[in-house]
């Protein structure tokens, strides 16, 4: 890359930041988050940052799920996703909580416990992660099965807020 290319790229990135209202684009997969306490977005976050983040998250979760699913989760408080891998098993997804594994009568769960703990690897507002987890469970169940940590009790997720 020549100095000219670098300068051009720098100026264009600066232009892009301008289009986002001056805020630099935060790419969370480029950072380490192990030092951030559970249920927190980091020490630099203030009350107003949390409020705005949750508001943004709600908007994108709604767009991700579509109006029909969004309305359903608002009304009933969860979304059920039938397993394609295990007939008779349903994943019950609730905002900010572990996945509940529900089995039809006579169906045995592949897990020893009824709850699966799955977190994002970086902090996210819980409604946003809920929509993401729905896509993972529906479209990439094998990945969910691979990473799921079965737990005997229900609990809030640690990496969402």
């Amino acid at each position: 890359m020549t100095v000219f290319d670098w300068l051009r790229r720098f100026l264009l990135l600066d232009e892009a930041a301008g289009r986002r209202g001056g805020a630099a684009l935060e790419l969370p997969w480029m950072h380490r988050w192990h030092h951030v306490p559970k249920r927190s977005a980091g020490p630099d976050f203030r009350r107003e940052d949390y409020r705005r983040a949750r508001e943004n998250a709600r908007e994108v979760a709604r767009a991700t799920l579509g109006e029909r699913l969004w309305t359903r989760v608002q009304l009933q408080g969860y979304l059920d996703v039938p397993s394609r891998r295990f007939p008779g098993l349903t994943y019950r997804l609730r905002i900010g909580r572990r996945i509940e594994v529900r089995c039809a009568p006579g169906v045995e769960s592949p897990w020893p416990f009824a709850y699966l703990c799955i977190n994002p690897t970086y902090p996210l507002p819980e409604e946003e992660f809920f929509a993401q987890l729905y896509l993972y469970v529906r479209d990439r169940e094998d990945e969910v099965i691979r990473v799921a940590a079965p737990q005997p009790w229900d609990q809030m997720l640690g990496r969402t807020f």
Binding site: L27, V60, Y122
Partner: protein, 78 residues
């Protein structure tokens, strides 16, 4: 306008472009979106695209004509 949603602790931020016009700004935004998606996938993130009024996970190469992409956090147990 097409857009890439980068879900992060701020809720989300977007990169937008117009695939129907050929301007320096639009080309730069498309380059930026493609680079972000490539890097995110390399680091374990999933990518979804909008189909109808909902999103589906997507492994296909970046297409600037897709209406909306989103980057999803990698997941981990525990």
């Amino acid at each position: 306008m097409a857009r890439l949603i980068v879900a992060n602790r701020r809720g989300h931020q977007v990169v937008e472009w117009d695939p129907t016009v050929d301007t320096r700004e639009s080309r730069a935004a498309i380059e930026e979106a493609e680079r972000i998606i490539r890097d995110a996938r390399r680091r374990g993130c999933a990518v979804s695209r909008k189909v109808g009024d909902t999103h589906v996970l997507d492994d296909r190469p970046f297409d600037p004509h897709v209406e909306e992409y989103q980057i999803l956090a990698p997941i981990a147990g525990g």
